[in-house]
């Protein structure tokens, strides 16, 4: 775990953590949904709007040049962060959902044919499920699932569903509900041997641990900026250059063209071929600043910190009678996410009582209805950690859960 002094310094960077909720100290434990923003990120965005706001790639005047330089510098920050080969492989989008939809619409509609197979898992967030449902129905392709074990891991016996007919395997790196860290390197290896491409949903991994696209060797990686200290409305699609060259554009219009004639046009170079219209410049700048913040602390350190928090939380919460925790019990293969149910109390009621205690957690199906189905529950409550959480936050969660039991008269 990061040491106490370090955490106190980190906490000071997040102005929101000073506020109170229902006259209690704010304990923010919904980091898998979105994270809070450090002052450095807020200031970077403010500086952009106060000092050099202009549209990018258009003007030749000073402001436009500065804005363009900052936007493209932000892209380079991401290249380095996930170890991509070049800026040509980094496409700015709204969020991981849009990144996956881009692949489904642009790549999928060109390369998926009748009878092909797309393999996903039962663990997927809806954002990595619905685009493939629609695509496979449209193309008469087959959608197949890697199941989940009782422990909350991928059922590796189902890996043999990846076969020669498979064109794409779309899989989450870390489950947003179970916290399971999937062995995406191995899946990529299996898929590539059989000629399938691999899309990794990195929404819950890129913010929390070192992610190296060369090491994973994935063909696509999608993630969102707001889950990693950045602003909302900015996300990233990484794709291997040779794939992006073969793919048709997704959204079309300004910026993504090279030459335009009456009836035909040609496309801009990578990555701008996939960035039609004015992009989210403040978002890119904010995300790059967030990455600098994370790199300063170190992704290995953040991972180690969350691992320690999960270990502590799993052991502390285990003595609450009636509490059922879902997902792997081994912190080595679990990200900073703990989903649970408390007796027969609905997750929303748990979250409401916790809110009265200042503890902010998520409750519901977490956009993962197939996971709810597996564990046969309508909803789960979920606490998820980040670098600014500490032991005290887990203590607050623990005592708020005991208050909940009292309110509902559970022994």
């Amino acid at each position: 775990m990061l040491d106490k002094q370090r955490i106190q310094i980190i906490k000071k960077d997040f102005p929101i953590l000073n506020r109170e909720v229902n006259e209690k100290k704010l304990v923010y434990l919904d980091n898998a949904a979105t994270t809070q923003k450090p002052i450095q990120v807020i200031e970077a965005i403010r500086k952009y709007y106060e000092y050099y706001n202009a549209n990018v790639h258009r003007g030749v005047y000073t402001l436009a040049e500065e804005a363009t330089a900052a936007y493209e510098e932000s892209r380079k920050e991401i290249v380095d962060f996930i170890n991509a080969n070049s800026y040509e492989e980094i496409i700015f989008v709204r969020n991981a959902t849009e990144a996956i939809n881009l692949v489904a619409y642009a790549w999928g509609r060109k390369f998926i044919k009748e009878g092909d197979k797309i393999v996903v898992s039962q663990m997927e967030h809806h954002s990595n499920l619905i685009p493939w449902q629609i695509l496979s129905r449209e193309k008469k392709a087959k959608l197949e699932f890697i199941g989940i074990t009782e422990e909350g891991k991928l059922n590796e016996e189902d890996f043999n569903k990846i076969d020669k007919k498979t064109k794409l395997v779309a899989i989450t790196h870390v489950s947003n509900v179970l916290g399971t860290i999937n062995r995406v390197e191995e899946i990529t290896k299996i898929a590539h041997e059989l000629g399938a491409l691999v899309l990794v949903d990195g929404a819950q991994s890129v913010p929390h641990m070192p992610v190296d696209v060369k090491k994973i060797d994935c063909d696509f990686l999608a993630f969102s900026g707001h889950k990693m200290l950045g602003p909302m409305g900015i996300g990233v699609l990484f794709a291997k250059r040779e794939i992006l060259e073969e793919m048709p554009p997704f959204l079309t219009g300004g910026e993504m063209i090279k030459n335009v004639d009456f009836y035909e046009s040609t496309w801009n170079d990578l990555p701008w071929k996939y960035e039609a219209g004015t992009p989210n410049v403040e978002g890119a700048i904010g995300l790059a600043e967030a990455i600098r913040y994370l790199k300063n602390i170190g992704m290995e350190n953040i991972r180690a910190h969350e691992k320690a928090l999960v270990k502590l939380a799993l052991s502390k919460l285990s003595d609450i009678k009636g509490l059922v925790i879902y997902g792997p019990k081994d912190p080595e293969i679990r990200g900073g996410v703990i989903s649970f149910n408390l007796g027969n109390i609905h997750a929303h009621d748990v979250a409401s009582i916790l809110d009265q205690e200042g503890v902010q957690i998520r409750a519901g199906h977490h956009c993962a209805k197939l996971v709810m189905k597996k564990f046969n529950v309508p909803a789960m409550a979920r606490a998820s950690f980040y670098l600014y959480n500490d032991e005290e936050d887990i203590d607050a969660l623990y005592s708020a859960l005991n208050v909940t039991k009292k309110v509902f008269g559970l022994d």
């Binding site: 997750a347 929303h348 519901g364 199906h365 309110v407």
Partner: protein
């Protein structure tokens, strides 16, 4: 503290009134809240004056949605279809003790109200014409 989990809500959650199924109801509707998976259904038996002589609700979900469905079932027993049609959500919220609910949780509290209105409007052969949330 925990102001909307006061005794009334918890009591109706533990001991729901008018819960169960009804054979051949005169009016019926089912609705759910995709956000949390709350489900509520109402079945109404009417007399010749279109007055509710029996009501059953069924469903599952959070305490707020289920207690609200139970409380509403007691509230409308004996009322006519027209009276229920003219009822306002404020009447139910008052009955619930006017809890201080945000835009998300108000949907839990008003799912029962929406479902009941759906039953009434469908009985009248009309589309629901009311902004619920």
């Amino acid at each position: 503290m925990n102001e909307y989990y006061y005794e009334l809500i918890l009591d109706h959650w533990r001991y729901p009134r008018n819960k169960g199924k009804m054979k051949d109801p005169d009016a019926y509707a089912f609705d759910s809240n995709p956000l949390c998976g709350d489900e509520v259904e109402y079945a109404l038996k009417l007399d010749d004056n279109k007055r509710v002589i029996d009501i059953k609700f069924d469903g599952h979900g959070c305490a707020l949605s289920q207690a609200s469905a139970s409380i509403l079932s007691e509230l409308v027993k004996g009322k006519t279809i027209e009276e229920i049609k003219n009822m306002t959500k404020e009447e139910l919220l008052r009955e619930l003790g006017n809890p201080n609910l945000g835009p998300t949780r108000i949907k839990c509290a008003l799912l029962s109200y929406k479902t009941l209105k759906l039953a009434v409007y469908s009985y009248l052969g009309k589309k629901l014409q009311e902004e619920i949330y």
